[in-house]
Symmetry: C2
């Protein structure tokens, strides 16, 4: 039974666990706030200490996958811009760890890219070898998997769907990211007085929006229709540039999947030719909380 | 001196020539209307006859590159949808030619992809290994070169920038393709009565537009400003999805390059972060009439 060590690095949480290559079962799960690592000024060394514990206990583990929230070098050796942990920018993390752990192979990837790949190896549904992955949440992130591999593009950091031009002179993420979505809801609330269950005191939450939409609330549904419409337009650009017809939607706001899909489908049908429509498939990603960790482990497949 | 045979297949013209691998010099140029090939029902066989003449005369030529105007299979063996020559759709052209010419290697590619690659090997300027190529003309076509190779995307036919959503509920090519551009010019002509050198009788041509813009005609410049603005928005989507910061503009309408660029640059600066802007470069493609033939020959590099 082959096992990989998956590591999901974040600014306020580092998760680590052994992952069965065959079924994605996670064991030896470990999660911690890396504040003291950050304060020490030796983040990667502390991360190495945590890795050492795992590898000493489980010497059969020879591959370690690491997902990080930010830009990395095209050769996947070095951190470039990790906005949540800026003190590690520029660190050649793969050479450093490889020197400390001879005989172990390390893999580095952006966390959204890793999560996308994780869906291929550990997701509930069998996926084709090419698909687009878009995460909805505070921002709008993404990845493309082509030939079962993360698509790096030219500079190494392809697929920033949140930064594609959208309506109102704003990029997509400034239209349908969490903050903008709630602003839109609070603004539109005035027009729906008495016809919505959503609060009028500026406290609408995304969870509240999803719940209201599920109950048939018109305002909530209207907001998700707007969101789906703008997401759909953005997907068309990705589909025509990448020639990929399977799309996975993940991220916290993918809870709105059922309510954005009518508008997403409407836009796809509006823009795309029958050639595309007949093979098109937009689905919800299946790895929820473990997406980061499983994604990191999936980097170890070759 | 290594030579490749380059073949640019079109519905009304097939061009063929030997191309020096080192400097792109074309010899034994041959061009013909393939009407009789098409009528014969044996297009590929007739094409093979023309190839045979070249290969018999020049037995040192061992590689043949073919560019075709349409969709081809992901493995680059078979024609899928060649709208200008529909009777050859479905033909396994590479296996067919390889069987007839043992010892010769054949390469097949979409013509816009081939033209894009040709800029790398035979263009006047030294290019990076990753760039976006967009052709302006009747339609808006394109290609991406990544790692000195044609980017195929998922299904094999990536980079259809003409079909990306643009303003007015239309795809980009329906806004800035030749026909739409002239419609826009003829429509706007009314507002510029007496202030433009462009004719008011509906006979504005793209050549006339470019000439007028070069003379400082306000209407012509306004039209290219609109065109550049919409092209710029489309480029941003490609740049953020592919993470590529060099863009080449080719095609017949690239004669307008100087007049669209102010608006293109304005939009790029509006949408992109400083990280992108500092490495961004938009240039005009350098291979004019021979782009198709040289592009086809460039497929023979490996």
């Amino acid at each position: 039974m082959e096992q990989y060590l998956g590591i999901d690095v974040g600014g306020t949480n580092v998760k680590m666990g052994l992952v069965d290559a065959t079924d994605g079962r996670i064991s030896n799960f470990y999660s911690r706030d890396p504040a003291s690592w950050r304060n020490s000024g030796h983040f990667v060394k502390r991360l190495g200490d945590a890795i050492a514990i795992q590898l000493v206990e489980h010497p059969h583990v020879k591959r370690v996958g690491i997902g990080v929230p930010g830009l990395i070098s095209r050769d996947r050796s070095t951190l470039i811009e990790i906005t949540a942990i800026p003190e590690i920018d520029g660190t050649p993390v793969i050479p450093d760890l490889s020197a400390r752990f001879p005989g172990t192979t390390f893999y580095l990837e952006n966390d959204a890219n890793a999560a996308a790949l994780g869906e291929y190896y550990f997701g509930e549904e069998r996926l084709p070898e090419d698909y687009i992955f878009v995460t909805l949440g505070t921002g709008v992130g993404g990845a493309a998997i082509i030939d079962k591999k993360v698509f790096k593009g030219g500079g190494g950091n392809a697929m920033e769907p949140g930064h594609v031009p959208s309506k109102h002179g704003r990029v997509l993420e400034r239209n349908i990211g969490k903050v903008e979505l709630l602003r839109m809801a609070n603004e539109m609330r005035a027009e729906y007085k008495g016809q919505t269950v959503l609060p009028g005191d500026g406290t609408i939450s995304t969870t509240g929006l999803v719940a209201a939409a599920a109950e048939g609330d018109e305002l909530a549904q209207q907001i998700f229709d707007e969101m789906g419409s703008m997401l759909g337009d953005g997907l068309v650009a990705m589909i025509r540039i990448l020639d990929i017809t399977t799309v996975l939607i993940g991220g916290g706001l993918s809870a709105s999947f059922d309510f954005i899909m009518p508008a997403v489908n409407r836009q796809l049908a509006y823009w795309l030719t029958p050639y595309y429509m007949k093979s098109l498939s937009v689905k919800r990603a299946t790895l929820a909380n473990d997406a980061g960790l499983l994604g990191a482990a999936s980097l170890c497949f070759e």
